[in-house]
């Protein structure tokens, strides 16, 4: 019999918070409320990262997602007039078919995980030399093993920045 311990309670609390706030994100009428609930989801996911000993990603999640992307979202929501859209129907006509399709997809995912979950119970042995800390290990991965992808990602960010400015510009000449 599995006894409940503190990490499991924390995991269930974070999971429940993430799932409930995610449901709130897609059901709120006001887009600002959706954004606030999404921030709570992102914080819960950051907590899950912390439980997985991914301290660097925990910090990146809060700084980049909550501090960067969500501010961008809130900025655009306030820039765009949503008063008309808030009074209209929030869900498209095919919502029933969409929900059924998504639930079938989830049933497949859950069934697949359930079939394989006995294999996940076997913990692979830790490597002998695991003395470096998390941020150091990620830095080695980023700048040695994955140097070319990092350069490509920086190029992608540059293109996205220029593209966003060009598209949001008032006059295109």
């Amino acid at each position: 019999m599995m006894e409940i311990n503190l990490p499991q309670i924390a995991f269930f609390a974070l999971s429940a918070l993430a799932l409930i706030s995610a449901i709130m994100v897609i059901t709120r009428r006001n887009a600002i409320h959706s954004a606030i609930w999404l921030i709570i989801t992102l914080f819960s996911v950051a907590g899950v990262f912390l439980m997985l000993h991914a301290e660097f990603l925990f910090a990146v999640q809060i700084i980049l997602y909550v501090g960067g992307i969500m501010v961008l979202f809130l900025f655009v929501i306030m820039l765009v007039n949503l008063d008309v859209a808030a009074k209209q129907s929030q869900f498209s006509r095919q919502w029933f078919v969409a929900v059924v399709t998504a639930l079938v997809l989830t049933a497949e995912l859950v069934y697949g995980i359930y079939l394989d979950h006995r294999g996940f119970l076997i913990i692979p042995p830790p490597p002998a030399a695991a003395a470096t800390n998390n941020t150091q290990a990620i830095a080695v991965g980023l700048y040695q093993t994955y140097m070319l992808p990092v350069e490509i990602a920086s190029l992608l960010l540059l293109v996205a920045m220029v593209g966003a400015v060009v598209m949001a510009k008032r006059k295109f000449e």
Partner: protein, 100 residues
């Protein structure tokens, strides 16, 4: 110790909610937020397996996913601003100029 498949169930749940949001909502901004939910679900899986295999490759890949999310949010929100300036709407089903 939390078994790795619990994280996979959590990722599957978040992914489903994101898919339902993308497919059912009319507001383009909420659709973009649902895409962020989907990317977060993927990140949970990547980090869970990274921890399971005692390798940081999954976390490095999660950083690339976050980079993509930032680029996608910037371009998507720029598109929404341009769209709202031209059509005065944020409803996805009213943007049907290419649909005949």
């Amino acid at each position: 110790m939390i078994p790795v498949h619990w994280y996979l169930y959590l990722g599957a749940g978040l992914f489903t909610i994101g898919v339902i949001g993308v497919l059912t909502r009319r507001n383009v901004i909420v659709i973009l937020m649902s895409i962020e939910l989907i990317l977060n679900a993927v990140n949970i899986n990547l980090v869970a397996f990274s921890q399971y295999f005692h390798s940081t490759n999954g976390q490095v890949f999660a950083i690339f996913v976050i980079t993509d999310a930032a680029a996608e949010a910037a371009v998507g929100l720029g598109l929404i601003i341009a769209l709202f300036r031209n059509k005065e709407t944020v409803n996805a089903d009213e943007i049907d100029l290419l649909k005949w």
